[in-house]
Every structure is written in structure tokens, then in C-alpha cells.
């Protein structure tokens, strides 16, 4: 249990406490996870966050890491959505971490959306919840918002079909409530809400309502369709209450529990129980303020060593105070590492 979780997520940083707790967490994983210990056999405790053993995000696609220790009760497996490789990351969840992660995400989301409870509309199907011992990234991201939900409606009958909306149920929900929370993967939000066959009576009922749209998953597909962020935000909130907002949050299944909503000034803030560093991809040296490979760290993961992950994303640490008023460290998400074609003659 991190003592830092008792603080406001964007309070002044307590880096000494963070490092001390990270040492404890790292030692726990080195003692309980054979693969992690094999990768980092010579690590010695340090005060420098950058020196702590990390795992490349791609390793979770090949190995289901597991840390065995007293008190760790493993539960379900969290799977990322299919990427271009067609292989999902697998994160083994445990009871203790799930509780910490829920506490973390609630505090972060509340900082951006307020603590008021309101109906949550998820642009997915309820069937996606019933996938046995596995949880998809889409569902996990939606459930991050559960603490703020008075009720949950899974809008789609078929998660793969943006036109399978249960519009009658949405209409009833809208008629009874002035405020709604709507979550979807970025592309799903666009295709389901803006492009689908939403009946005119639902569109009429939504007018003047306060809706907070939350989306994650990235812009790649929308960029292909030449949809810009400004157009996306403006289209979604057209005709709604002026307090309606669109919040884009960045997160990875390999960092479940810590999401990075985009603040009003355009940055991602790091809660006190997490940290981020940026590395030169060629040397792995830490970059203070230039673009590099983003590494995300948190104190929430006890069942497997996904607490310290080198991502395949490019970011930049932003010095100084943010105009949005949040304290602590922040970064700018620049994009994914560009992919280049592999040529050869064998099947790799």
C-alpha cells in the first residue's frame, strides 16, 4: 500500500518517499519473479529512479510475468487490444493491486471530471465483460470510470458494430438525467456517436445536456480519416451544455490504474504515486527536456512487475509549472515510435 495514495494526485511531489517505496516494490518483484530477476541480476538499490529495473512494453506480449509472494492473490488477466502485430499484452492482475489501481484511477479522474456520480455510457457491448478470466483493455479503461458512475449502460449490442446502438435505452437515460459520462475508444466514440445512425429523437434529447466525453486509444485511425482534435471536440459537444467537455486520456494496460488525461493546457500530469522519465532510445540515457522514449513507473503493481515500463511512445518532460494549476511533473505525449518496414525473405 503506497502512502502516497493518501495525497491528492497532483500535490507537491514527495520524491524521497516515492523512491523508498519503489525500492521496496522492486525488491519484491526481484524476489518473486524469476524472469524479472534474470533480466536484472545485478541491480542494487539506488536513489536514482532511472536506475531501477524496467521492462520493455513489448515483453508483455511474449511472457505473462508473475510475482509470487505471501499475500499476493492473482486473479484475472488483462489483455491489450489487438495491435498491428495481432498479439496482445497480458497483465496478470492481483487483488491488492486492483484495489490500489481503482483508488488511483478514481482520484485521477475525479481531478478532471469532479467527484459527482452520474450515469456512464460505455461505447462497447456488455458481452465484452463476460470473457471468462480475461479483461480487455477497452473494458478495463471503461471501468476506470466506474467510481464516478451511478449507473452503467453498455450502448452497443455488438462491440464490433458501431451501428448496433441500443438507442431506446440511451433515450430513457438522457430523459432522466441532465449529466452523463460517455466513454469509448477514440475511434469508436467518433463512429458510434458522430457517424452512426443515432435517431433524431435521441439527438434532440441530448441538446443542452452536460456530457463529459472521455476517450483513449489514440488518433491513428482518425488521422487516416483526416479528423483533427479540434473538429473532434467541437463536433461532439455541439448543441450540448457549455460545460460539456471532451477529455482524451493516455494510458497503457501495462500501467493499469494510472491514466494521463490531457489537461486544459495540453499536457499529461503525473500523479505523486507515479513517475515518468524520457530516454534516448539509442543510449537509454535520461533526457531532461527533449523528445525520447517514454518510461512510466508507478507504485501500484504487486502481482507482476508491470510497475516500471519502457513504452514504445515518444514523449517529452515539460519543465516548470503548468497553466492548468496542477503541481508536480508533467509530460507531452508526442506519438508512437514510427514503424519501419522489415525486409527479408523469411517469415518473421
Amino acid at each position: 500500500m503506497s502512502s502516497l495514495l493518501q495525497l491528492s494526485p497532483y500535490a507537491e511531489r514527495r520524491d524521497k518517499i516515492f523512491v523508498k517505496e519503489l525500492q521496496e516494490l522492486t525488491a519484491h518483484h526481484l524476489a518473486g519473479c524469476r524472469e524479472y530477476a534474470r533480466i536484472w541480476p545485478n541491480w542494487r538499490p539506488s536513489d536514482n529512479v532511472a536506475s531501477f529495473p524496467f521492462l520493455h512494453v513489448g515483453t508483455f506480449k511474449s511472457i505473462q510475468f508473475k510475482t509470487d509472494a505471501a499475500g499476493v492473490k492473482h486473479q484475472r488477466v488483462l489483455k491489450s487490444s489487438a495491435t498491428s502485430s495481432g498479439i496482445s499484452s497480458q497483465i496478470l492482475l492481483d487483488q491488492r493491486s486492483v484495489e490500489l489501481q481503482a483508488q488511483s484511477s478514481s482520484a485521477i479522474i475525479a481531478s478532471f471530471l469532479g467527484a459527482e456520480r452520474r450515469p456512464l455510457v460505455v461505447l462497447d457491448s456488455a458481452g465484452a465483460l463476460r470473457a471468462g478470466t480475461e479483461v480487455s483493455a477497452r473494458i478495463a479503461a471503461a471501468l476506470t470510470l466506474k467510481p464516478l458512475a451511478s449507473d452503467i449502460l453498455f450502448l452497443l449490442k455488438d462491440s464490433a458494430d458501431a451501428k448496433s446502438g441500443k438507442w431506446d435505452q440511451l433515450l430513457r437515460l438522457v430523459e432522466k438525467n441532465d449529466s452523463l459520462l460517455v466513454y469509448g475508444f477514440t475511434y469508436m466514440l467518433w463512429t458510434t456517436w458522430m457517424r452512426s445512425d443515432m435517431p433524431p429523437e435521441v439527438s434532440r434529447a441530448l441538446r443542452g445536456k452536460r456530457i463529459q466525453f472521455v476517450h483513449s486509444g489514440g488518433w491513428k485511425k482518425l488521422e487516416n480519416e483526416r479528423v483533427r482534435r479540434e473538429e473532434f471536440d467541437k463536433s461532439l459537444t455541439a448543441g450540448l451544455d457549455p460545460d460539456s467537455r471532451v477529455i482524451d486520456f493516455y494510458g497503457l494496460v501495462e500501467q493499469v490504474g494510472v491514466v494521463y488525461p490531457l489537461c486544459g493546457a495540453g499536457y499529461r500530469h503525473i500523479p505523486v504515486w507515479a513517475d515518468a522519465i524520457v530516454r534516448d532510445p539509442w543510449t537509454l540515457e535520461v533526457l531532461e527536456s527533449s523528445d525520447g522514449q517514454l518510461q512510466l513507473i508507478n507504485l501500484l503493481a504487486w502481482g507482476a512487475p508491470y510497475h516500471n515500463v519502457l513504452t514504445e511512445d515518444v514523449g517529452r518532460i515539460i519543465p516548470g509549472d503548468c497553466a492548468c494549476g496542477r503541481k508536480g511533473k508533467r509530460f507531452e505525449f508526442v506519438g508512437r515510435i514510427p514503424k519501419a518496414e522489415v525486409r527479408g525473405c523469411a517469415n518473421v
Binding site: 514504445e312 519501419a340 525486409r343 525473405c345 517469415n347
Partner: protein
């Protein structure tokens, strides 16, 4: 109509090869194009790829297919024993990630004069199409340009496209690069009963190096050969077998490779490649390999044994110290090339060792990638010709 009858003397006696073009003119045209290629590298090609194509177009190299299949060219009045004529239209299927094999096959097929229809993968840039366009634009007027304009076609379409079946139906020779499944699907399509199927499917190669040959020059060759395609090339050493080395010696050699690497491969890899190398390094270590990253994360060099799990990676060189018999026992079913650095590679014991294995080539380490007409266990270029027995 084949107007040019060229005589060769080989192990069958005199062979007359009937061609529809003047071979000397065709070779000169390729030489002319080669000279133009020296001036600049088109964007689609890496410098290494372009340099390899230039080397491949050496006139002496282009004569080799005739020499190897039919013998030495000779003006003779002796009666021929065989008449060889091109079989006819050739269909060439290229997969998505294929590198130079497309352009190389175009060059080799041009030497037969047969019509060539190339089908490239629909998901990636294809070098065969790029090279065909370049060659059409830069070839001198004459046999080569006529061939490229009238007889060579490059198309991009998916597996389900009806043109796939059309190609199979119309080809006298089907040349397929790709997975076993893709090749089987193509050969299953209706095709002429007397047509020939040539398949180059997924294969794996190894470098076998004896400890006493582990000098700097050999290690530099090894790095060069590996770094071109990493684990993505069927002729690239997916494993480096260090013969008669123990773990300690292997570690010393690994460290030497790691130290040499930056001076052999100077270019900085793309960001996605170096990131993937960090991933590969961690996965290898997690599986029990003793792995290290090369400076600037250019590659991963790992030492381990046959029992250790491997994970897909592009630039991880896997070294296994072992002895001959064990290395032979662990040769994969789909072996392609063994690139050797041995104290006596001519020792008949090596051939005895490999008899009964599936290896297709046993060649010096630094020639592992050199495409020849004997490939994957067959003299495929000779099969582009129909042979008639002649007796006076």
C-alpha cells in the same frame, strides 16, 4: 520463335540453347544499366541492397547460369545431345516482406527471354516493381529494354484476387516465395499439367565457425552477413554455431563481436529497431540466454543452448557453443544454408555429416546471401527450360 541457337559443352555433351534474343546484346545491356546504377541509389533501396544488385549484374556472374546449367559456351560442329528451349510464361509470386529476391529473379528470368508476370504483396513496398521501373527507364534501346517493356509485368493484388488463379492457369513455371501455406495454396490452383512448380518457402540458415577460425576477419564477416537482414533473411544466420567452444570461450568471442560491431555497422538503426532490440535483449535474458546489447542498441548478441526458448526478434544474434554431432542433430527441418568458417571445409567428413540432412547450401560464411541458380536443393534456373533429347 527462337532465332538464336547457342552451343555449350557440359556433362551431357553439346547442348544447344534456343533463345529469342541475342545473349551477348542482352548481357551488354545489363552492363550498361549497371554503369548507370553506380551513379545514385533510388530511395526505395538501401545502399547495401543496391550494391548487391550492382555486384550481381557483373557480366561474369550473369554468364554463370548458362555455365552451371549447360556448360561452357563453345563454337563447335559436333552434334548436340540436348536442345534446351525456354518453357514459356513464368509466374512469380512475391510475399510482402521480400527484399532483393524479386529484382534478382527478374534479372535471371530475363536471361531466358520468357514472359514474366510478377505478383507482389499488397501490404508493402515491393523492390521488384521499383527495379523494373528503374531498369525500363535506364536500359539502353535493344534486347533488354524490349524485354522489360514487352515481356515483364509487375502487379500488386491480394490472394483472393481472380488474377492469382489466372496467373497459375497461364504459367508454364510457377515460382513462389512465401510461407508453406501460401505456396501450397498457389500450387493447388488449376495449372497446366506439364507446368513446373518451384517453391522457395520459409527456411533457416546457420553459421558454423570453428574456434581456430574465430579471428577478427571472420567475426567481421559474420557481423556483416547477419546485419543485412538479421533474423528476417532465410540465408541469414539464425544461429551461430561455435564448434568446439566452451561457455567461457564463447563469452569471450561474444564480447569481441559486441566490441567489433559498431566499427562494422556504422549506420544508426531506426528508433523502432533499437527499441525492439531492448525488448529482444530482455526476452532473451528472461529465457536464460546470456545476452548483451551492442553499443547504441544496434543489436543483441546472446549465448545459450538449444534447450532455451527463443522469441521473435529482428536483430538478435544467437550463439551456441557446441560440437559437430550435436549441431548436426539440431539442424532444423527447414535448413537452407550453412555458412562456414572452418579450418578445412573441403574435408569429405563434412559432406558425410550433412548427407541425409535438409541443408541446401554449404558455402563460405561471407557468401551466405549470394543467390545462385542452385538454390533450395534444386537447379531452379535449368528448370526454366524444356530439354529435348537429340540423337543424330
Amino acid at each position: 520463335m527462337c532465332e538464336h541457337m547457342i552451343k555449350f559443352r557440359g556433362h551431357h555433351g553439346v547442348v544447344v540453347v534456343a533463345l529469342a534474343f541475342d545473349l551477348t546484346e542482352m548481357l551488354e545491356s545489363w552492363s550498361h544499366l549497371r554503369a548507370a546504377m553506380l551513379k545514385s541509389v533510388p530511395d526505395a533501396f538501401s545502399r547495401d541492397e543496391w550494391a548487391y544488385l550492382v555486384a550481381f549484374l557483373d557480366p561474369a556472374n550473369l554468364r554463370k547460369p548458362f555455365q552451371q546449367s549447360f556448360g561452357e559456351q563453345e563454337e563447335t560442329a559436333d552434334c548436340p545431345a540436348l536442345l534446351a528451349a525456354p518453357r514459356g510464361p513464368i509466374g512469380l509470386w512475391l510475399p510482402n516482406n521480400v527484399s532483393l529476391l524479386g529484382p534478382l529473379m527478374l534479372i535471371l528470368v530475363s536471361l531466358t527471354g520468357s514472359k514474366l508476370r510478377m505478383k507482389a504483396g499488397s501490404r508493402s513496398l515491393d523492390l521488384a516493381g521499383e527495379f523494373l521501373e528503374y531498369a525500363r527507364a535506364h536500359a539502353p534501346r535493344g534486347a533488354l529494354r524490349d524485354y522489360l517493356s514487352a515481356c515483364a509485368v509487375h502487379e500488386v493484388f491480394g490472394h483472393e484476387d481472380p488474377r492469382t488463379a489466372e496467373m497459375a492457369k497461364q504459367s508454364s513455371v510457377r515460382i513462389v516465395f512465401g510461407s508453406d501455406e501460401a505456396a501450397a495454396a498457389i500450387h493447388y490452383l488449376p495449372h497446366p499439367i506439364d507446368s513446373v512448380a518451384i517453391t522457395f518457402s520459409d527456411r533457416r540458415s546457420e553459421a558454423w565457425i570453428e574456434l581456430e577460425r574465430c579471428n577478427e576477419a571472420v567475426l567481421r564477416d559474420l557481423i556483416k552477413v547477419f546485419a543485412i537482414y538479421g533474423q528476417a533473411g532465410c540465408t541469414s544466420p539464425s544461429r551461430v554455431i561455435l564448434l568446439d567452444a566452451d561457455q567461457t570461450t564463447a563469452m569471450r568471442i561474444r564480447d569481441q563481436i559486441v566490441e567489433l560491431w559498431p566499427s562494422v555497422i556504422r549506420r544508426r538503426p531506426a528508433m523502432n529497431v533499437v527499441s525492439d532490440n531492448v525488448r529482444a535483449w530482455q526476452l532473451a535474458r528472461a529465457a536464460g540466454w546470456n545476452s548483451v546489447l551492442v553499443s547504441e542498441n544496434k543489436a543483441v548478441v546472446s549465448i545459450g543452448g538449444y534447450d532455451l526458448q527463443t522469441f521473435p526478434s529482428l536483430m538478435e544474434m544467437r550463439i551456441i557453443p557446441t560440437h559437430k554431432a550435436e549441431a548436426r542433430a539440431h539442424l532444423p527441418e527447414n535448413s537452407q544454408t550453412i555458412g562456414h568458417a572452418l579450418s578445412n571445409s573441403a574435408d569429405p567428413a563434412w559432406l558425410r555429416l550433412f548427407s541425409g540432412s535438409n541443408i541446401a547450401r554449404f558455402v563460405p560464411l561471407n557468401t551466405m546471401h549470394h543467390l545462385e541458380t542452385v538454390w533450395d536443393g534444386q537447379d531452379f534456373w535449368a528448370q526454366l527450360f524444356r530439354v529435348v533429347r537429340v540423337q543424330a
